[in-house]
Symmetry: C2
């Protein structure tokens, strides 16, 4: 039996934990991990590690903040940031922390609202019930509370998650990129590893450090081989309960084209960054994201092409399908979701390219830049805010408006040359993917080349200015209609077509897929009982496991690296070049201090920044990656070689004290308060 599973806190596998490790969590222990763990709304995990709002997460989860607070010649992303005094802690424009308050089962309500409905009807009904539940949960104070209806077990269960929001989040410390991401893309998802992938934030309330009595005490030593470990965080998504027909479509229809698109963008950004230090900085955040995604896609594609995996998956599907059709009662109860699923996937193949280009914004650089996203958000928000809450697109429901406004008001730097380059390329992709004879392409480009249009849009827009965005936000539909901003006009122009393809995709693909998955999931429950954990949904999960290496091609990989190994691996050339701080500190550091370690905890993207804790609820490490075998974890957990990779708390303390000379932070970590 493997240490498999990403468990919700209200359904922990207490029996397995007791049997395998002789450990049963107390209610206090569970309460602690729930409140000390945080979700970074943009897609990571963090945890409180002092009573005064100190948050530990990854350097790579602080990328946006580090880029955004760098002004002029400053480059905090590369050079790190140290707040020597508390007053030096700058606000991160875009970071929001969510602290889970409660989980309420709302399966009955959701099922009642959607019963018997399909397609567009179902989308509408689900949107309405979600909105109703979320509004009542937020209870008029969306600045403080955030509520999300979460689909668990692919629709086997629905739950209402209520979070406390922290929107005033400031930066305390981040090391240099070259030590945080030592080894760069070559070492990413590999082990042995030597990264200090850490950043510390602080949550503020009313301009003062937040009071956070529930936090993980910081273990100065880190764990030992064989120790039981827990990872508490927000794994983003997994597809382990998904039938093969859906995974096959995911591979062929979605993943492969996206892999090509991102690879192309990677090459573009690589070359863009060679033009100089400023260009390298402009492209840095997108490059990091894309290189990481491509490595993940590679891992997924490998698993999804693995004959053994595919055969096993097909067998499981066939046996469930057989079971569902074995009696007249079951046939009546379940119908034939398998055929529905297949039809939905075929429809997905027809719609996906258009959906990606228009609604996902790949054709307008909504993914690689800022400007078009502002335009679209303003245009959509103006239209949506005039509708009743339950009829809005989910992003614009009252519960989400504070986050939208926050993004629009944040003073994120916009790089015009970068935006123009990426927009030109995106418009080329729009034309390439939809075809030069497509009416929307004709309408957008007219007689202009992508390059000409991009130049005109970026030089003409005012949307880089937060004040202009604020005006348009406050002015609502009238201001949008009156605007002469070329990007606002473009967003308005494509909006009907973009909404149409979204609606078609949701009605013909998402809704029937969800319904079929739900039916299949329910049948699996009826047959097997609810003995397992739900697929990951970027909500709080606990995984248990131990510190343990693995075997690679017959050779054992030990679970720890140390500071001595870091200095041995350094070459002086990127990405194996140490920052000056580490070069200078070498003599002061204990070479035997553990640096990174691996555990067999079952984690996935979104767990980045999660604390690794021990039986006492003390932080002993900081998750920042998985090994290469962990990538298949999206689809199946293999305990023999799937490993989580963490920074040891020992190296965190050693480096904060001796490399960065920050007694203030070191003391707060060891004492648990300011």
């Amino acid at each position: 039996m493997a240490d498999e599973g990403m468990w919700t806190l209200d359904h922990l596998p207490v029996k397995q934990m007791q049997q395998r490790y002789g450990f049963t969590p107390t209610p206090q222990w569970i309460d602690l991990v729930q409140h000390a763990a945080l979700r970074l709304a943009e897609g990571c995990t963090g945890s409180f590690v002092s009573a005064n709002g100190l948050v530990m997460t990854n350097h790579h989860c602080a990328n946006s903040c580090l880029s955004q607070i760098s002004k002029g010649h400053e480059d905090y992303m590369s050079n790190g940031y140290i707040a020597l005094k508390q007053e030096d802690e700058p606000k991160c424009p875009d970071v929001e922390l969510n602290q889970l308050q409660s989980i309420t089962d709302v399966t009955t309500q959701v099922n009642a609202a959607t019963a018997g409905k399909t397609g567009a009807e179902r989308v509408k009904a689900e949107r309405a019930i979600d909105s109703k539940l979320e509004q009542s949960c937020v209870n008029g104070d969306a600045k403080t509370w955030r509520c999300d209806v979460v689909t668990l077990y692919n629709g086997g269960r629905y739950a209402l998650y209520k979070y406390r929001r922290y929107q005033d989040v400031r930066l305390v410390f981040a090391p240099e990129q070259s030590i945080a991401f030592f080894g760069g893309d070559p070492d990413n998802f590999n082990f042995p590893r030597y990264d200090l992938d850490v950043a510390f934030f602080r949550a503020y309330v009313d301009n003062k450090p937040a009071s956070t009595p529930q936090f993980f005490k910081f273990s100065p030593q880190g764990p030992k081989a064989g120790d039981m470990t827990f990872v508490i965080g927000n794994p983003g998504s997994t597809q382990r309960g998904i039938p093969w027909v859906q995974l096959a479509a995911m591979r062929d229809v979605r993943l492969v084209p996206l892999f090509g698109l991102l690879s192309e963008m990677r090459g573009l950004l690589w070359q863009y960054g060679r033009a100089g230090a400023e260009q390298a900085k402009e492209a840095q955040e997108a490059r990091f994201y894309i290189e990481n995604s491509i490595k993940v896609f590679n891992g997924w594609l490998q698993t999804l092409a693995d004959e053994n995996f595919v055969e096993q998956k097909k067998k499981q599907d066939a046996s469930l399908r057989e079971w569902m059709a074995a009696t007249p009662e079951r046939r009546t109860k379940y119908g034939d979701p398998w055929t529905d699923l297949q039809h939905a996937q075929q429809r997905s193949a027809e719609l996906i390219a258009r959906y990606n280009m228009l609604e996902q914004g790949f054709g307008f650089n909504e993914r690689g830049g800022e400007l078009f996203g502002y335009a679209r958000t303003l245009v959509r928000a103006a239209a949506e805010r005039s509708k009743p809450d339950g009829e809005r697109l989910p992003d614009f429901r009252d519960a989400n408006l504070p986050a939208v406004e926050h993004t629009l008001e944040s003073n994120v730097p916009v790089y015009p040359h970068y935006e123009q380059t990426l927009l030109s390329w995106s418009l080329e992709k729009l034309r390439q993917v939809l075809g030069a004879d497509d009416p929307t392409v004709h309408e957008v480009l007219g007689k202009q080349s992508p390059d000409q249009l991009a130049q005109q849009l970026v030089s003409g827009t005012q949307l880089a200015d937060p004040a202009v965005r604020k005006q348009l936000w406050d002015g609502g539909e009238k201001a949008i209609e009156a605007s002469n901003d070329p990007l606002i006009k473009l967003a308005l122009q494509i909006d009907p077509e973009s909404r149409q393809v979204r609606k078609a995709y949701e009605d013909d693909v998402t809704a029937p897929t969800q319904k079929a998955d739900e039916t299949i999931a329910k049948a699996r429950f009826d047959r097997d009982g609810m003995s397992s954990y739900p697929d990951a949904t970027f909500t709080l999960r606990l995984s248990y496991g131990k510190v343990v290496g693995w075997n690679e091609n017959g050779k054992p990989v030990p679970p720890f690296t140390d500071i001595g190994g870091l200095y041995k691996r350094a070459t002086g050339a990127d990405p194996f070049k140490l920052p000056d701080s580490w070069v200078n500190a070498q003599g002061k550091l204990d070479a035997n201090t553990p640096m990174n370690f691996v555990t067999d905890n079952d984690i996935i993207g979104g767990n980045s920044g999660s604390a690794v804790i021990d039986r006492e609820g003390h932080a002993v490490g900081l998750i920042f990656d998985g090994n290469i075998h962990s990538l298949g974890g999206d689809f199946v957990y293999d305990g023999s070689n799937n490993r989580a990779v963490a920074v040891d708390t020992a190296v965190l303390l050693e480096s904060v004290r001796k490399v960065y000379n920050l007694p203030r932070l070191a003391d707060e970590l060891t004492q648990g308060h300011l």
Copy 2:
């Protein structure tokens, strides 16, 4: 019944042609098409279209020549080239034409030589017999003759192809890139289409235009809808006879990673070319090649993920496999090639990344640039030339040495900044794909970054100079060993490892795959008889068909476009910008002149530049592309929508006379001689 098939001239489907079209080719007709059609050794087709060595092919088949003869501010690739007088026809450094003289069946000899051998033994034996057959065929005059042993029917048959070589090939005329490739990448593989993708070469012998009495007379009108058409050319390769297990490995193990690699390079080159006109020119040839490849890969991946295709393929395999095992005699005769094939594919998955990076040279920019290729060729040639012919790597057998020498001596421009950029990127890929801890990667990079090493290699090498290459070629092993050129040293350094992975790949993958395919192909013959055509092998094939449109989403696509449509499609912005010559000539041109047309001839890459001829053996068009549905033609021919795309001879004549004012060329075309 569809107009399927790429037939060898010694096994034409005379019955089908007679039944479907009432046409039976005479021996004279066959003799004409064999000698008028040419192979461009680099990978295209051409044809003689006058008695004085005038050759018609595509502009995109003349890309290398146009780049290579452009010097200083000249850019013949973009601006076209016109030789007003015969003395103005410049030599294309790298073009070699092959004219097929004879096909000799050598199945018995090859089978006898390889009987009972497997793995490395088999590779060696086949190399030895091929060398022996080719040498005896060339008979000491490799400057005039070229002989290749060709594997047909996946090993069901072997044939010795003897060609007359033309190495003095000069450029007569090429139009501007913007009309040759009007619509650029967006229109590539699409229709309606408006391209003048033509170039004319002339073959010279002893510094005089070659005498070529067998040529295609040039039809001034082009064909009509429904006319029977033939395409005679050199389709590069198809995989129609290949079992599914091999195609699945092709998709997952080879195609998908390569698709990512080329996509990345595409983005890099896109951005590289934006730096200025000079950089755009430097990147142009590679960009063209890569964009085209990516579109092809997209088509392949679509077919290889098409459920109907996969199911049909699996069924065909299963039925043949069953037939092969149905009697004890058959089991003894055929053994179990299916399992062998599967093992070979598994081994391929283990070796392919290393093989691509080292031996295919992706890790050293052997694909995107010139310099490392020179180094490797010189290093290999020195070692190989000292061995007996039959023991050499095939590229270095005596029969191939003239082509190798030709490449080394050609004065192809080398762009140092381009080479350095691409080499830096390639070395990064080397490290990424093999891993930072790989011993070869360590050995190559040492403590340097890819960028540092690339800078050092490109600034230090002398190999851009043909005279230096000539010295090293002439000096043989001694000169190579004594050389201090850093690229020669790198090529020497990785050669043992590179040869080793090649040998492993050939022994464990290529040879057993070939043997298994051969056994399966033989079984298919035993069951079905030799009623079909062999998979394409870049050798001369005839396809028959007709001028006909198709239905796209229920709407008919007519088979012709005309000059009027070209002017309507032009926008003034790249890639829909007409060159000045066409803008200025508009008033003079007949708008109803047919421009491009489609036929259902079964063609594939390598057929580029093939003449479309009529029943009389007159040229009526010039193949330059297929429609988007033709891309699946690698694996299966679908007569309902697979279409070849050709330039009409009518527009060729109209434009040569009225746009380019070249009566000399127009007269030669209509009169058939200078």
